[in-house]
């Protein structure tokens, strides 16, 4: 069920060294909880993103474990320190084994 999964991430394009920035991420995903039934009364199998991570130049910023109680199109907002210029890597892990990634560069200045 990995259709039209598009990650969207908002990171400031530049920051001062050592500054704390706010990062917002959203990924379009159905997040089927495994609790709902279809019109025939059968359970729709669970299909969610179960893990989200954000790394900066190889160092971890945040690692979130997701359960079915996270809403459709999982949204996360968190804060990150910027020690130097570099690249943020965002990774989402799907139940079906798919991995979605997005990267954003940040400059110092």
């Amino acid at each position: 069920m990995a259709e039209n999964v598009t990650p969207r991430v908002r990171v400031p394009s530049s920051a001062a060294a050592g500054e704390v920035i706010t990062i917002k991420t959203l990924i379009s995903h159905i997040m089927e909880s495994g609790q709902r039934k279809n019109s025939d009364g059968n359970l729709i199998p669970r299909s969610i993103i179960n893990r989200f991570t954000c790394d900066f130049n190889g160092q971890n910023v945040i690692d979130v474990t997701l359960e079915p109680a996270i809403s459709t199109n999982p949204y996360f907002e968190f804060q990150a320190q910027v020690p130097e210029a570099g690249t943020y890597t965002f990774t989402w892990y799907d139940d079906d084994g798919s991995v979605y990634t997005d990267t954003k560069d940040i400059a110092i200045g």
Binding site: N60, Y75, Q79
Partner: protein
């Protein structure tokens, strides 16, 4: 309408099954908490959990947690069919022990956040959310 002995027995069985359900859900929540804390005592305070007082739609309830000095924060919705919601694990480059997301709530209930502090202690905060339309497809 007359109740036969068989009807009465069936009804009694149904009531017993229904009343057993919430107890089981609560036990599952305690299991999750024990798995996270390892049975350690949990103090009140030190965690800020921001939720709306009333959520019209249980499908997307914005939730914010903030616990300075925490290494990870677990969010639980004990009234849901599965109590777990999510766990934030903060890495060395986290700017603040803060996370915000949107969750599903099946009914009016308490939302709990438990933070694991860097020194190994635990702290929790709870907040009640009134849900008008449940968000678990039931």
């Amino acid at each position: 309408m007359k109740f036969t002995r068989r009807d009465t027995m069936l009804m009694a069985g149904g009531v017993a099954a229904l009343s057993a359900l919430p107890i089981r859900a609560l036990a599952a929540g305690e299991e999750e908490i024990a798995a996270f804390t390892g049975g350690a005592a949990i103090a009140e305070g030190g965690v800020t959990l921001t939720t709306p007082e009333i959520a019209e739609n249980g499908n997307t309830v914005p939730v914010e947690v903030n616990a300075p000095g925490a290494v990870s924060i677990m969010v639980l919705a004990l009234g849901n069919p599965n109590p777990g919601v999510c766990t934030f694990n903060f890495g060395p480059l986290a700017g603040a022990q803060y996370g915000s997301t949107r969750i599903r709530l099946s009914k009016t209930q308490m939302v709990t956040a438990i933070a694991k502090m860097a020194d190994g202690s635990f702290a929790q905060a709870s907040s009640e959310v009134k849900v008008t339309i449940g968000g678990c497809g039931g």
